[in-house]
């Protein structure tokens, strides 16, 4: 395999355990082949993610198939009999502690597995449109920064004109603006500035009026807006004659031309769509605003074909425009996968400009719940357009803070139509919200910790109890030979203590080393009492697990113990 990247070993191990012997080599080999293909198309990171997905899917399908086989053939076909089933049930009842520990362990594993499956379904889900899985995202991958390059206005035009495997290619960018309807105060909302292609990609017809069309994107065309169902109900009381009414978006008046049906929210979850009007000739290649591109796979085309075509176009651009495109690798991804990667992966903004030190101040917390001993911080003026959102603190006198909300918004809109104030709250409310978030984070962290501890404890209990149960025959013989039951119990507990002590010493030593290596990060600085507490807990669980079955074993008649199994 030298020279070929390898699939994730754990995923492969899982797969090979789940596959039936007769197809194991062939299926595993096919997936290796697909993995190599994915490496070439999407890079090793994505290829590994896709391999994991396939490994889980194959494991699930073949396990279900095996279960179906058994159901079709009945238990007799597998060599089992109902006697075996009854015997296994009897054993479960006979060793309730062991059964409970095993059952609890499985329950925790299932809960974790379900959570992972839900996460997988969310991340790898499809858009709720007709053939939503054929909607794709297009982007330039900057190999020098190892990050996407979204200033792609010129590429957008060239891809839209040249690509045949992806159709209805469109672009959007998101912005926050104050929206004002007649007789109502300004309200900040997120707006999608988007090309008309979005509605062709979604294939969802408007509920009222029309959606955006190509002519709306032309310079000089009247400003129009399409609104979502909820906004139609809320701002216009579901008026069927809403087409032609106006909305103030920032400092521009837009005419409503259509309403989209309930639940429609492309590209993310917007409720206002205005035409994207950008002229590539206004910008140098590689410059211009950040835009996000999408499209739909043409009939008969798949991701592989689209990527191949896009790669050819990218190679040509790299030759024609080496300064800007030599380091760019265009790629096509399923839209939902791209969306979550974009959402989860923070973008590296690159080095900022040099700043001159003009003074030194005491550190102070930027928000109420932040520590008063803040990390080293630079304070510098916010330039126009530098920040997406800032926290503005205003001291009011005489009236409740929230009563000034609409007045503050009016002042902001009067200053600049694109300015928007949202979530105007008192500092008390902000403090309560942050405390509540912290409590939620602490609760979640506690649940995860408890799950891990419970899983470990059940595993330990099962292991210790099983080790003692295995000695029941020996216990029976010793009892039959007249041994003192207290001495038998003592020997079992002593042996368990040795095993537990060895495990605890090794485990605590490793944990303490790791804690020291991470300067207390592992235990959050609580190592001094946390490690002894965990050791005591493990010791307690282990002793209970050993003592329970041992005491029950001693109550058995020797002849009964000797007859077992």
């Amino acid at each position: 395999m030298t020279g070929w990247p390898s699939p994730p070993p754990l995923a492969r191990w899982l797969l090979e355990r789940a596959l039936p012997v007769d197809v194991r080599e062939a299926v595993s080999g096919d997936l290796d082949e697909v993995f190599q293909r994915d490496c070439r198309r999407y890079g090793p990171g994505w290829a590994r993610l896709r391999y994991w997905r396939k490994a889980v899917s194959f494991s699930r399908h073949f396990v279900v198939e095996r279960w179906r086989d058994r159901r079709r053939g009945g238990v007799m076909r597998t060599g089992m009999s109902w006697l075996d089933v009854k015997l296994s049930l009897r054993m479960l009842v006979r060793y309730p502690g062991l059964s409970l520990a095993g059952g609890l362990g499985i329950a925790v594993v299932i809960a974790c597995g379900t959570a992972a499956a839900v996460f997988d379904a969310v991340v790898h889900g499809t858009l709720p449109f007709e053939d939503g899985d054929r909607v794709v995202a297009l982007e330039n991958w900057d190999t020098s920064r190892n990050d996407p390059e979204y200033r792609a206005l010129h590429d957008f035009v060239s891809w839209r004109d040249e690509l045949r495997t992806v159709e209805d290619i469109g672009a959007y960018r998101l912005m926050n603006r104050n929206v004002t309807a007649a007789g109502r105060s300004a309200e900040p909302v997120r707006i999608a500035e988007i090309t008309a292609a979005a509605f062709q990609v979604a294939r969802v017809p408007p509920l009222v009026g029309r959606y955006l069309v190509g002519e709306d994107e032309l310079e000089g065309a009247p400003p129009v807006v399409v609104i979502g169902h909820d906004e139609w109900q809320r701002r216009f009381a579901g008026d069927p004659q809403v087409v032609g009414r106006t909305l103030q978006v920032g400092d521009t008046t837009f005419t409503v031309v259509g309403v989209m049906p309930e639940g429609f929210g492309f590209p993310v979850n917007e409720r206002y769509w205005i035409p994207l009007r950008l002229k590539p000739s206004d910008y140098e290649r590689g410059q211009g605003p950040v835009i996000y591109l999408f499209g739909r796979l043409a009939d008969g085309a798949d991701l592989g074909a689209a990527q191949a075509e896009l790669t050819v176009i990218g190679q040509r651009a790299a030759v024609d425009f080496p300064d800007t495109h030599a380091r760019l690798r265009p790629r096509v991804l399923p839209y939902t996968e791209w969306f979550f990667a974009e959402m989860l992966g923070p973008r590296d903004a690159g080095p900022g400009p040099w700043l001159e030190i003009v003074g030194v101040v005491r550190d102070f917390p930027p928000e109420p719940m932040e520590s008063t001993v803040a990390d080293a911080t630079l304070y510098h003026p916010v330039g126009r357009g530098d920040a997406q959102g800032v926290l503005l603190a205003v001291r009011v006198r005489g009236v409740a803070a929230t009563a000034l909300a609409s007045r503050l918004r009016e002042i902001a809109t009067a200053l600049d139509g694109s300015l928007q104030l949202r979530e105007i709250r008192s500092m008390d409310a902000l403090l309560r919200e942050q405390q509540s978030e912290l409590r939620m984070a602490a609760w979640l962290s506690g649940v995860i910790t408890m799950s891990v501890l419970l899983l470990s404890a059940t595993g330990l209990y099962a292991l210790m109890a099983f080790a003692v149960v295995q000695r029941r025959r020996e216990i029976g013989i010793r009892l039959a030979l007249g041994a003192n039951p207290r001495r038998i119990l003592g020997s079992i507990i002593t042996r368990a203590l040795w095993q537990l002590a060895t495990g605890i010493v090794v485990g605590v030593a490793i944990a303490a080393q790791l804690d020291m290596a991470t300067e207390g990060e592992l235990t959050g600085g609580t190592g001094r009492w946390m490690l002894p507490a965990v050791a005591a807990f493990v010791l307690l669980v282990g002793l209970i697990a050993a003592a329970g079955p041992a005491r029950r074993g001693l109550r058995l008649q020797p002849t009964e113990a000797l007859r077992e199994e």
Binding site: W4, A26, S57, H61, E65
Partner: protein
């Protein structure tokens, strides 16, 4: 002997193999089904179906040479058996009989 009816997905897999020719293996079969149907199919479902069709005697398979790209593992090549062809014909006939007398575009039907 009554033969078990073929499911829609089983028919798709058998037809994909016939399109690609004897000696084809799993990866191109998945691609072919996706290409022809325009749908995304779970590759695992295709492999489970291949195994089931072989167990029913509708496919036969043999192992080919291995390649380094596949980690030295062999391919399982398949071909449709005579019984497989017969099953496909029968499935087609049954559907044709059900469609007989109906407008192909189902005009007039609710």
């Amino acid at each position: 002997m009554t033969r078990e009816a073929l499911g829609e997905f089983e028919q798709m897999v058998l037809l994909a193999i016939l399109h690609l020719g004897d000696g084809v293996y799993g990866v191109p079969i998945v691609d072919e089904i996706q290409r022809r149907t325009g749908r995304t199919v779970a590759p695992a479902a295709v492999y489970v179906t291949l195994r089931r069709l072989e167990q029913k005697g509708l496919l036969s398979s043999w192992m080919s040479d291995s390649t380094p790209e596949r980690g030295g593992k062999a391919r399982r090549c398949v071909k449709v058996t005579r019984a497989g062809l017969e099953s496909l014909r029968e499935s087609r006939k049954v559907l044709d009989r059900m469609w007989k007398g109906l407008d192909p575009n189902l005009r007039g039907a609710r």
